[in-house]
Amino acid sequence: MIIQKISRVLSNFDNILPVFAAACAVMSVITLLFLPFVYSEDQLYPKKIVAGSTLNPYDRGGPPFVQAEIVSQYPENSPSAGFVTAYLTPFSLFLSKQTLYMGTTIVAHPGGILDEILYNTRGLDTVVEPSILFVAFAIAAYIFRREEHR
């Protein structure tokens, strides 16, 4: 019977990835068929390229320690939004004055543009994200260590 054949395939967990991948592939095709989508122009945290800025493409304008304009969903929930954006550590300030091409490096410093969204307005995301990393790390370390002790 066809049902028995299907259940034989489904009951083997070696087959779940192929089945799931097939579903994903079908879904990709369906998504392609639904194209094009309308891109909403009214986006949060819009990005503008300031030509000639040393902080390109992360320049948001504004001198250090002054609040910069940020389009966030609920501005009333993050009163300090924009402070971090406008702040550069002395070292990053130095770097930004030296060269045009260090924008991406500056992002890695505390005080980079990206950090604003990461730490403040979407902070819960980044709490979950290190948690995922922490759990994955714990799994790997536990299994690795158990093998070591054997």
């Binding site: 009951s11 083997n12 967990f13 070696d14 779940i16 990835l17 799931f20 991948a21 579903a23 994903c24 879904m27 369906i30 998504t31 639904f34 989508f37 309308v38 891109y39 909403s40 122009e41 009214d42 986006q43 949060l44 966030s72 969903q73 609920y74 929930n77 993050s78 939004a81 403040n120 307005t121 979407r122 902070g123 819960l124 995301d125 979950v128 994200e129 948690s131 995922i132 759990v135 994955a136 714990a138 799994i139 536990y142 299994i143 158990r146």
Partner: protein, 217 residues
């Protein structure tokens, strides 16, 4: 907003991510909490097999470190579940769901048997593949509507592509796959009932929540 899970009782703001409790999400949250407390306080059961042809019995022994690790994973899983139940942000929800996925893999992977490890690996692969539709869906919601907040999306100002919703469901199915193949794995024969329950509880909870999210959007 259309009231799928009831009127929100209260909000908790974390910047742009607003956590809200409706009667529906609160029910699920409390259940996740109850079972997490069970995991925390209950001791695993012991299994006894009677030897054939006599009254003697074998007692299955599992190392303490394994049980501790699985308890840790189950608690992490419970916390992730609670987060996924109440978060009001689509991307945050997908992140919590992938945390649930990796915790499920962790609960299974700790069992020391080649067969179980094999199962855990396959679940892990599906969970990893599941992040693709999951994150794609969230990103498509953000791009087509300009927001990720469920409260804003529930106002139905802009239509979300059907494909994005379907991708979200597919992703959650991938992350919550593990328990449904569990019967094949030896993991259920290893002691540690509270931990295994967390595995299936989390899957069911995220399914329930994604049903609400889909109806809400």
């Amino acid at each position: 907003m259309n009231e799928i899970g009831g009127t929100p009782l209260f909000f908790l703001e974390f910047g742009d991510i607003v956590v809200y409790f409706t009667p529906f999400t609160l029910t699920l949250f409390i259940l996740a909490l109850i079972f997490t407390v069970f995991v925390l306080v209950s001791r695993p059961e012991r299994q006894i097999d009677i030897a054939f042809g006599g009254d003697a019995f074998y007692d299955k022994v599992i190392s303490l470190s394994e049980l501790r690790f699985r308890r840790f994973m189950s608690i992490a899983c419970g916390l992730a579940c609670m987060g996924a139940m109440v978060t009001g942000d689509v991307f945050d929800f997908t992140l919590f769901v992938s945390l649930v996925g990796i915790c499920n893999v962790g609960i299974v992977a700790a069992v020391k048997s080649r067969h179980v490890q094999n199962a855990a690996y396959q679940y892990g692969l599906v969970a990893l593949a599941g992040t693709v539709p999951l994150f794609s869906a969230a990103a498509m919601v953000a791009a087509t509507t300009g927001t990720l907040s469920m409260l804003e999306l529930a106002k139905n100002a802009v239509e979300i592509p059907l494909a994005a919703r379907a991708l979200l469901v597919l992703g959650v199915m991938g992350e919550g796959m593990a328990p449904f193949y569990a019967a094949k794995a030896e993991m259920f024969r290893a002691p540690g009932a509270p931990y295994v329950i967390m595995c299936s509880l989390s899957s069911l909870l995220i399914f329930l929540r994604v049903a609400e999210v889909i109806l809400l959007l």
